[in-house]
Symmetry: C2
Subunit: 146 residues, 2 copies
DNA sequence: GGAAGATCCTTGAATTAGTCAAACATTGCA
DNA sequence: TGCAATGTTTGACTAATTCAAGGATCTTCC
């Protein structure tokens, strides 16, 4: 089933395909994550915790664009799974930073691999299309950052 | 903040950019949807209900790749918002089909527009890049369907 | 025709995700 | 010192989702 709106510009058409592939990809990712015992939000949080760089919970809330109390809940779950732990912040006793455990570091690595796995539609493209796609998307990302 | 795994093939790299743009897009879409009083799952369901084509709830469950009881809950919310209603299925009294109301048809239209709106990174591309992107993604989608 | 099994939807109980408002501790400033 | 701002938590609530179980209706097959 494909749902398509009236198209206008190339960008609109591109976005419709983009969206369709994205939806499918997400489902595949969610399925793979569940084999690792993770949900998408948890995996997303895990991704943002870099090994050796404990992150204050408030900072995580900002990156996740969510309420601080939600981070409390996510942190609870990460801790209960033994993937991360709250650390006191030297110099500010209000702050608790989340740090990955050994298990967390390992699992995060698998999450990163899994999330960069090209989904079937992209994997099925010719290599030259894949390269062209990569270059265009890189430009898209970089224009915006710049 | 950008999180990147060790890259391998062009497809992997493409996927990383794809994913990044997709995450950002989703947030924007969720924000726009909430102005319409909709959540993402509700909007997704709305999208799958074509005007004039009531859809059995079981069929919706299949398209949404979710449990039938979840569709019951979604249908309840759509009905309580006056966007859809359950209809008896002529010929099989077990089946209830969801049909859009007038309001539902109208809102669905806005959802489709909103979801095909190119996000900033794609909108910022040159028109020729947009066209190339559209063509490649179309091939990706079509290869897979074929 | 009627029993057995399959299909469709709902209900109830549970977990996760998320918001908001209120509370608490700690910091930093005036 | 006193007070406002900041960081985290708690509690109450809604939404999304799954699973197991139940009730209604169909289908099949003797």
């Amino acid at each position: 089933m494909v749902v398509v709106a009236k198209t206008k510009t190339p960008a609109h058409e591109a976005q419709q395909f983009f969206f369709e592939i994205g939806m499918q990809t997400r489902q595949l990712v969610v399925a793979s994550l569940s084999e690792l015992g993770l949900t998408f939000p948890l995996a997303h949080a895990l991704r943002l915790l870099e090994p050796g760089h404990p992150r204050p919970m408030s900072e995580l809330a900002e990156l996740l664009v969510c309420d601080a109390s939600n981070v409390t809940a996510l942190a609870d779950r990460l801790e209960s799974k033994g993937l991360a732990e709250r650390q006191p912040h030297p110099g500010d006793r209000r702050v608790k930073a989340l740090a990955l455990t050994e298990d967390g570091i390992e699992l995060r690595e698998r999450v990163l691999e899994l999330m960069s796995e090209p989904p079937p539609p992209i994997a099925a493209l010719s290599v030259s299309d894949q390269r062209a796609l990569r270059d265009i998307l890189r430009r898209a990302v970089e224009i915006q950052r710049g």
